[in-house]
């Protein structure tokens, strides 16, 4: 065994020495793939759910976005983000009805709207990817819907089914999926939320649960009517929701509202298949440009082009500047451009970065530790790539994410929480003391924008420049915001009843607690930094770090004190951020998303008015008021909006950061020839240190050999002598 291993190693080195053409020694991919238009990427955690009713995490959307097609999508190039049809004919405007059922217009006050009706028409002729669930025999019966035990024995993966089929997309598939959101076996994360809007969805869920209790192995959802989602004809369906909820259209651009055909549901419901890990969670079925052909979460996942894809053209127009940037070179060409995408399992950041530099991954983010290697900030503050990156032809694309990361106070806490003026002053003091700009510069390399209010840039209601700064923390000096001096914080702290960080009455030092789940080196550095910030106002911060579950528990019970939290936009609307501070939405007790448990009557009233309004000056005015209330009460301190930096190799084209769309893979293209050429240039093996090392080792044995010789000669006399001793 040992010998054969050596033999293989030897073969490997020999083959590499003889200069095998094209492929470098450290190329992790099989030979022969060099000329194909394959995109190489990585994943670090296996996606848990690829079922569109269940998947919500960003690492799952990477896949589901390419496979499933909801009725709408975001325009790839245009900003601000706008919805365009994907499988639908157009983006419909809803019809509104009041509580008596008479139609009213959108101009009527939002409170009078009792029902909104969306009628969606889909394009004919769209077909599903080839899949065994559609396969029929000559008589038109489904081949694999009643698999016998014998048939199951021969099946290990989905590709073991000899025949596949397809069929046209129908409106009923969309309705079927909406019904699946309420399915008792499927844990859809948005079921609870959607049942408040979609008419009768809650009752529908109860109905299904009862049907399941009666022992039905498979529930054909077509047999259960749902008032909120109905098929009108083969290509049309209708969704009814309570009240007015203009943001609902954005939901219809997420895979939650993608079509799932009955045949697929029926197919995967067979007990024997789940035993073999063949479920919709692992083998999704869609109409999109790609289909998942290999799903080995232990090694790699492969997306390949869907041969039945209905075809779509690259957008003809974009933002001003897109043409100059070459983003419109492929305008009108059929999508997708890339044949295949290979995602490899990578657990550690360092190998990903190094493989990117070696050309084995086509794009990469930049960790804070590799930042200085990749990016140089010019004298004027502009970001630019370093010479090393430029010489490799790498491009840098930046975008400010529609996300807010913030440090929050638990407003239920007796020390830092509540509406009492002294607690408020304490929070304001802390808000000044935590130098968010320094944190961004140390931990994010300046990639981020210090928070001025809850809304991130790019969302309606956000204000730039002097008008948008938080006057309670910043001054506007020389055309930019400047943090108030630390003396102001100390002053506020004294006014709050803690002069020099000590309780005025007892003289006890003030100790605050930071609850977190962080472990690992990065977190340690953050904690050290954070403690430094609190020490500036002589307050000691104790880090209470715990595991994820315990932390969740604390948040749910409202026993945390200071914590960090973040929110990624579901859709580009201020409501999606401001609802994070809405009183009835509190985390503690109500399980909402208001992690700070902030509750302010004024804010809540304004929110109720703002949420259903169309964007306009009136809405802006209300939002400004709400932001001001939050700034005064400081439930959140020191947040930031991260800026995303992406690096792309020269052969990877048509990339424009789009923070809302998740089906962008179809627009991208690669140039495999350039890639192969560059990889060869960058990955020339260096052998000489090995030879030198070997020589040194040989030299090292020389004295040993000499000593052996001497020993051999003297062995007879000496050994006797020694043994006698």
């Amino acid at each position: 065994m040992g010998r054969s291993f050596y033999f293989v190693v030897l073969l490997y080195f020999l083959s590499s020495l003889s200069g095998c053409s094209g492929s470098s020694l450290n190329n992790p991919y099989p030979k022969g793939d060099e000329a194909k238009t394959i995109l190489y990427s990585s994943f670090s955690q296996r996606p848990k759910h690829l079922d569109p009713a269940q998947s919500y995490s960003s690492n799952e959307i990477t896949f589901t976005g390419q496979i499933y097609e909801p009725p709408f999508q975001y325009h790839y190039l245009k900003r601000p983000y706008s919805l365009i049809p994907l499988t639908a004919e157009d983006v419909p405007s809803p019809l509104y009805f009041d509580k008596d059922g008479t139609e009213i217009t959108g101009a009527d006050p939002a409170e009078t709207v009792a029902l909104s009706v969306y009628t969606i028409k889909i394009k004919p002729g769209i077909r599903y990817q080839p899949h065994p669930s559609f396969a029929r025999d000559t008589e038109g019966k489904f081949l694999y819907h009643n698999l016998s035990d014998q048939a199951l024995e021969r099946i290990d993966t989905l590709s073991d089914f000899p025949k596949t089929g397809s069929r046209e997309l129908r409106a009923e598939d969309y309705v079927y999926q909406i019904k699946r959101l309420a399915h008792p076996r499927i844990h859809s994360p948005i079921y609870g939320f959607m049942s408040e809007y979609i008419v009768e969805l809650k009752d529908f869920g109860t109905q299904l649960r009862e049907a399941q209790k009666k022992g039905a192995a498979f529930l054909d959802l077509r047999d259960f009517p749902l008032a909120g989602a109905e098929v009108v004809d083969q290509y049309t369906y209708r969704i009814k929701i309570h009240g007015k909820y203009p943001q609902f259209l954005y939901w219809l651009a997420m895979p939650f509202f993608a079509p799932v055909p009955y045949e697929v549901d029926r197919f995967y419901a067979q007990a024997g298949l789940a035993e073999k890990n063949i479920t919709l969670d692992w083998y999704p079925v869609g109409t999109g440009p790609y289909m998942l052909t290999t799903n080995n979460p232990n090694l790699r996942m492969v997306l390949e082009r869907n041969p039945n894809f209905h075809g779509e053209q690259y957008p003809m127009e974009g933002e001003p500047g897109d043409r100059a940037a070459g983003m419109l070179e492929d305008a009108g060409k059929p999508l997708p451009f890339i044949e295949k995408v290979v995602y490899s399992l990578e657990k550690e950041d360092i190998p990903i970065w190094n493989k990117f530099l070696q050309g084995y991954y086509d794009s990469s983010g930049i960790s804070s530790d590799s930042f200085d290697q990749a990016v140089r900030i010019s004298e004027t503050g502009n970001t630019d790539l370093t010479e090393e990156m430029k010489s490799k032809g790498i491009r840098l694309l930046t975008s400010t994410a529609a996300s807010t990361y913030y440090m929050g106070f638990n407003m239920l806490d007796p020390v830092v929480g509540g509406g009492h003026p002294s607690a408020r002053k304490l929070r304001q003091a802390i808000a000044i003391a935590i130098d968010q700009e320094e944190s961004i510069s140390i931990f994010q390399n300046g990639r981020g924008m210090a928070m001025q209010g809850p809304l991130p840039p790019g969302i309606f209601g956000f204000k730039e420049g002097e008008a948008g700064i938080n006057r309670r923390v910043y001054d506007w000096i020389d055309g930019k915001p400047k943090r108030l001096p630390i003396t102001a914080a100390r002053q506020l702290l004294a006014e709050a009843g803690y002069p020099q960080g000590r309780d005025e009455k007892t003289g006890q030092p003030l100790i605050l607690h930071f609850d977190t789940t962080g472990t690992g080196p990065e977190a340690k550095a953050t904690f050290d930094w954070l403690r430094k910030q609190f020490e500036k106002i002589q307050v000691q911060l104790v880090i209470r770090n715990t595991d994820y579950n315990r932390f969740q528990d604390k948040m749910l019970k409202g026993t945390a004190q200071i914590f960090q939290w973040g929110w990624n936009a579901d859709y580009p609307d201020p409501e999606n951020f401001l609802f994070l501070l809405y009183g009835p939405n509190a985390k503690a007790g109500k399980n909402g998303e208001n992690a700070a448990n902030y509750s302010n009557k004024e804010f809540d009233t304004l929110f109720d008015r703002m949420k259903n309004m169309e964007n306009g000056p009136e809405r802006q005015r209300i939002i400004d008021q709400m932001v001001e209330v939050v700034r005064r009460d400081v439930p959140w301190v020191s947040g930031f909006h991260p800026q995303r930096f992406g690096l792309f190799h020269a052969w990877y084209g048509n990339i424009k950061p789009n923070l809302m769309a998740n089906n962008t893979l179809k627009y991208a293209k690669v140039d495999p020839h350039l890639r192969t050429q560059q990889q060869g240039q960058w990955n020339k093996a260096v052998w000489w240190p090995l030879w030198v090392g070997g020589m040194l080792l040989l030299l090292g044995t020389l004295p040993a050999i000499r000593s052996y010789r001497r020993k051999e000669r003297g062995i007879s006399e000496h050994s006797w002598q020694r043994n006698l001793q």
């Binding site: 960790s367 530790d369 290697q373 005025e504 003289g507 990065e522 430094k532 770090n545």
Partner: protein, 477 residues
């Protein structure tokens, strides 16, 4: 420093759990020492260790590590100034150790972010506004490292000068030590000084004094160079949030010692009691103990440790008031880690002890004692225990270095010491990311490496000597 001596009442001693246990460990080591000094069969091999130059040199280094560790184990809180007269005296929530006082400036001189060893400027460029409103991205000067430099004094000249002066002082001190010691030694042995020197060089004393002296001299010279340099510069650079790496590495010593030492203290009673009981009583006692350790050793250690650490966290969350300061939280986690590492590592020793006891039980003198009707406890204490002590000694010294190394790996898996605790494992863990930087940040990793290597290497060399001396199979050589 001065006010430490003038105003002792401004400090309130704090005894952390690990402090108490560490002192207990020292005390028990002293007790073992007293015990051993009465046991000729244990004393003879130890004399052999004393004669070995390499082992004694290693022991000297080891003792200086332990010295620093002890200094870092005496904790206290400083008094806060009174705001109003008549208030109760309040103490700072920050727990400091004697070491923190000794190295004072190292702890307090915190920069903004990374800086290279001996650097005067930061490692990363920053936007700085110059007088006149011109903004440029430059390497900003450090606030402490090389801050004393003036235009007339360049960095390299200053470093050379400091090195030279430090070296000179060190040499002088080392020479003084050498003279004093050899003088004392010659007085003690009543032999001429020249002969003493000769004997020292040829290792002719019962203790390898020569090796100890050389090691001590080297340490003195090194310290004399390091002290003035680290006062003016960051000798090993600073880390991501600007803390002095030398300070971190020094603080890591205590963590390493606690993990290596306390774990042994924890497991020793278990292993001794259960191992001997299993071997001596046999029958169902043996079956039960064997069952216990086979079961425990079949559960993957990482899982056991992860579970224990999580249980502790739950406990701390429920009793948040008793763990009000960072130091206490980190300390209790460290203690727990020692406990659980002890639980997983007593098995090996227990098994060895069981085997040895089985053998000893059949030996003639034990059989004779049983026949004479000597009580069980007496047999166990008088006959069995002394004859397994060498196994205990060997495995204690052998385990020590392995445990120090294990700490780093556990930190990587995420179940090591508290992230707020300074330890070499945490330093190495951060270094993984620093190695990927360009230009590379090598100083944290190197500092952790050198300090850890020094401890583990000397511990290994010393334990090698102990094992060689005690292992009867190897004694002949």
């Amino acid at each position: 420093m001065p006010d430490f001596f003038t105003n002792l009442s401004s400090f309130k001693p704090v005894f952390l759990w690990t402090d108490i246990l560490l002192l207990l460990l020292l005390a028990s080591m002293g007790a073992i020492g007293v015990y051993v000094s009465g046991q000729e069969h244990l004393l003879a091999p130890l004399r052999q260790v004393r004669r070995r130059a390499l082992a004694m040199a290693a022991l000297t280094v080891l003792l200086s590590y332990i010295g620093i560790g002890l200094l870092d184990s005496l904790h206290f809180r400083q008094k806060l100034p009174q705001i109003e007269a008549g208030q109760e005296i309040q103490y700072s929530p920050e727990v400091l150790s004697l070491l923190d006082l000794v190295v004072g400036r190292l702890r307090k001189n915190v920069e903004r972010t990374y800086s290279a060893p001996l650097a005067t400027h930061s490692f990363a460029k920053e936007m700085i506004e110059f007088p006149g409103g011109v903004k440029k991205r430059v390497f900003p000067p450090l606030s402490y490292g090389g801050a004393h430099l003036t235009d007339g004094l360049t960095q390299s000249a200053d470093i050379k000068q400091t090195l030279f002066m430090g070296g000179l002082t060190g040499l002088f001190l080392a020479f003084t030590l050498f003279l004093t010691f050899s003088f004392l030694l010659s007085r003690h042995h009543r032999s001429p000084w020249k002969k003493t020197l000769h004997a020292l060089r040829n290792n002719q004393y019962e203790t390898a004094w020569g090796a100890i002296l050389i090691t001590l001299s080297l340490i003195i010279i090194m310290v004399s160079i390091v002290i003035p340099l680290s006062a003016k510069y960051h000798l090993s650079g600073t880390d991501k949030v600007g803390q002095d790496v030398l300070y971190l590495a020094l603080k890591g010593i205590r963590t390493g010692l606690v993990i290596g030492g306390l774990t042994t203290l924890v497991m020793l009673p278990f292993a001794l009691f259960l191992g001997i009981a299993a071997g001596y009583f046999r029958g169902w006692v043996d079956d039960l103990i064997q069952y216990l350790y086979t079961t425990l050793s079949s559960v993957p250690g990482v899982l056991l440790i992860a579970a224990a650490v999580l249980i502790l966290q739950v406990y701390m969350d429920k009793h948040a008031d008793s763990f009000s300061s960072i130091t206490e939280r980190a300390d209790i986690r460290l203690l727990f880690l020692c406990l659980i590492l002890g639980m997983t590592s007593w098995i090996g020793l227990c098994r060895l002890l069981r085997g040895e006891t089985l053998k000893l039980r059949e030996s003639e003198y034990v059989q004779a004692a049983i026949a004479l009707g000597v009580g069980r406890t007496r047999i166990l204490i008088r006959h069995i225990l002394p004859n397994v002590m060498h196994i205990v000694l060997i495995s204690v010294v052998l385990d020590f270095s392995g445990l120090v190394l294990a700490e780093a790996v556990l930190s990587y898996v995420g179940v090591g010491v508290d992230p707020a605790m300074i330890s070499w494992g945490n330093m190495i863990n951060s270094a993984r990311m620093e190695m990927a930087r360009e230009p590379i940040v090598w100083w944290s990793l190197s500092a952790a490496f050198i300090f850890m290597f020094g401890l583990v290497l000397t511990a290994n060399i010393f334990s090698d000597a102990v094992r060689d001396a005690f292992d009867p199979r190897l004694r002949s050589r």
